[in-house]
């Protein structure tokens, strides 16, 4: 009886305010799509960082006969100098940070180089001796590359210490900026959505103010009075959030998995359906919660006794 009555009130409220309800649906749809997109971007960044940072090393380049930068003076690094770097790496101060160390000789560097630039002609210009010998260090925590750079770059025979992560930073910076932009737009749109829901509920309450007055007079409980209005707001915004969830799934399916995966050479670290399906419930729950709160606040002044 009561449930039927409440749902009847919700239905008539939605019909009466159809244009406002449609605008609430659209605004929540757009704003939650932006929220979902920014969550996806952050997830993407995290996933790419995890993937690339595991592979990023700190390289300690030793001097060759032709180097003048760093601590080099046109002299090949001596056995002693190489040994002292190795000793530093093994020392108790640095050892805890280090996962694994490999030494790359001139010959190995040359082989790698040949492999990487197989389709260009460089014989004669590049000799094994002109390529640096280097230590390739895998860190326990890639964030702590600075410790190595500080303690090793001063040693004799070391040309430079490079954190390869630095090459990835610009990519992450761009992705981060995109994600913050999406969050900013989403925030503004959410404010608009909340205000619009509140206005819609106020209009709906205003058009039923006579019923509300009588309800209050004859002693309808506050919960009974406010439930239809809150349900009205939640219903409208739920439609919007479900649409936003659909948009997020479509973006991942057709743009990320379809377009990006086929154009980018390295598709190992792209988002998949799993992440998308994780975002959808977040959107739906937060859309419904926002609507419930703003509708509840909007209707509360009609409940003052």
């Amino acid at each position: 009886m009561r449930l039927g009555l409440i749902l009847g009130e919700v239905g008539s409220g939605l019909r009466r305010n159809l244009s406002m309800v449609v605008s609430v649906v659209l605004v929540t749809f757009i704003s939650l799509t932006f929220v979902g997109a920014s969550i996806l971007l952050q997830m993407q960044i995290g996933q790419m960082k995890g993937y690339w940072y595991d592979r990023a090393q700190v390289a300690v380049y030793m001097c060759t006969e032709i180097d003048t930068t760093g601590n080099c003076t046109l002299a090949e690094a001596t056995e002693d100098q190489i040994a002292s770097v190795q000793q530093q790496l093994d020392s108790p101060t640095l050892a805890p940070y280090i996962n694994e160390v490999e030494f790359e000789t001139h010959e190995q560097a040359y082989e790698n180089f040949k492999e990487q630039f197989a389709d260009t002609t460089f014989e004669g210009i590049i000799t094994p001796e002109s390529l640096n010998e280097s230590f390739r260090v895998n860190l326990v925590d890639p964030e702590q590359a600075d410790v190595l750079i500080e303690s090793l770059s001063g040693l004799a025979g070391v040309e430079s210490v490079e954190d390869q992560r630095a090459y990835l930073e610009p990519i992450f910076a761009i992705l981060n900026a995109a994600s913050y932009t999406a969050i900013g737009v989403a925030g503004l749109m959410l404010v608009a959505a909340v205000l619009l829901i509140a206005t819609t509920i106020r209009l709906s309450a205003f058009s039923r103010r006579r019923e509300l007055g009588i309800m209050r007079l004859v002693g309808a409980s506050n919960r009974f009075i406010q439930t239809p209005f809150i349900l009205e707001g939640v219903f409208a915004s739920l439609i919007g959030s479900v649409l936003a969830g659909g948009a997020i799934v479509a973006i991942v399916q057709f743009f990320v998995r379809g377009y990006l995966a086929s154009t980018l050479p390295l598709n190992t670290s792209l988002l998949g359906m799993e992440e998308a399906l994780l975002v959808v419930p977040i959107l739906i729950v937060s859309g419904a919660a926002l609507a419930a709160v703003s509708a509840g606040v909007a209707i509360s002044r009609y409940l003052k006794v």
Binding site: S207, I214, L217, V218, G219, A220, S221, N222, V305
Partner: protein, 271 residues
């Protein structure tokens, strides 16, 4: 039933209180007229009983509840014991007579079976048994007020508050409404009626409480709208009240509320 202990009510922004240390007791089964000029505090008095307002000073007990401390969550349940009738009827224009009365019971969660029993009873009691499917705009003013009364009594309230219920009606129709209120009173319901209608008050010879400027100046059993006699009952708080004849307003005072018909309010938003 209703007790006011030195109750004052001031609205913000004005120094003159709407009610000034009012002491009053209304017993179960009484029929009380509340008279006084516009702005004398009648409506504030009724609103305080309904707990639509809180008193600035003093304490109010209604039906054994101390209204000052009644939590706002319990106010709706308290109001289920009160029936209220207004000058402008306040019916819902898009609902039939039956649905208008049933609405009251629906929103407080009564069962369908109870509503099917109680609403025809109430309509029969007010003399509208054959008109339950009409809409308010198809009824005369007197009939609309009878619907409003049916709505007020359908839940068998202990107290009925009537704010100028005859203010919009011609004398003959008003007399019919008064007969109805008297019958409700005979059924054991306490009736408290604010009015400007001197004829009705004089004819009924019931308890009359007169307010001037927020103070009770007269509280008479079997009184008239105006009186020349010395007050016979009640605690008179102020010396000014001892000369009521000179202080009483004339009977030609215009009603406090402007005439408004319910069907012409806010029509555009109902579409």
């Amino acid at each position: 039933m209703i007790r006011f202990d030195s109750v004052s009510k001031s609205y913000p922004g004005t120094t003159r209180p709407a009610l000034n240390s009012v002491d009053l007791e209304i017993l179960k089964g009484e029929f009380v007229f509340l008279v006084g000029a516009s702005g004398s505090g009648k409506s504030s008095f009724l609103r305080l009983i309904l707990k639509e307002e809180n008193p600035t000073k003093g304490s109010i007990h209604v039906l054994g509840q101390h209204l000052n401390t009644l939590s706002s969550r319990k106010v709706p349940y308290f109001r289920r014991n009160l029936g209220v009738v207004f000058q402008d009827f306040r019916l819902l224009p898009n609902k039939t007579v039956f649905d208008n009365v049933a609405f009251t019971l629906q929103v407080i969660g009564k069962s369908r079976g109870f509503i099917q029993e109680a609403v025809p009873d109430a309509l029969k009691m007010v003399g509208l048994a054959g008109k339950s499917n009409r809409f308010p705009h198809e009824l005369s003013g007197g009939e609309q007020q009878r619907v409003a009364i049916a709505r007020a009594v359908v839940n068998k309230p202990a107290i009925m508050l009537a704010d100028e219920p005859t203010g919009n009606l011609d004398p003959a129709t008003a007399a019919g409404i008064m007969t109805l209120l008297e019958r409700i009173n005979l059924g054991g319901t306490t009736v408290l009626m604010a009015t400007h209608d001197a004829g009705i008050v004089d004819q009924m010879k019931r308890r009359v409480i007169e307010l001037i400027g927020g103070q009770i100046v007269r509280d008479e059993l079997q009184g008239g709208y105006q009186t020349q006699t010395v007050p016979t009952q009640g605690r008179i708080p102020h010396p000014g009240a001892s000369k009521p004849a000179s202080a009483a307003p004339t009977a030609t005072q215009s009603p406090a509320r402007p005439m408004t018909s319910p069907s012409s309010q806010g029509e555009g938003l109902d579409a």
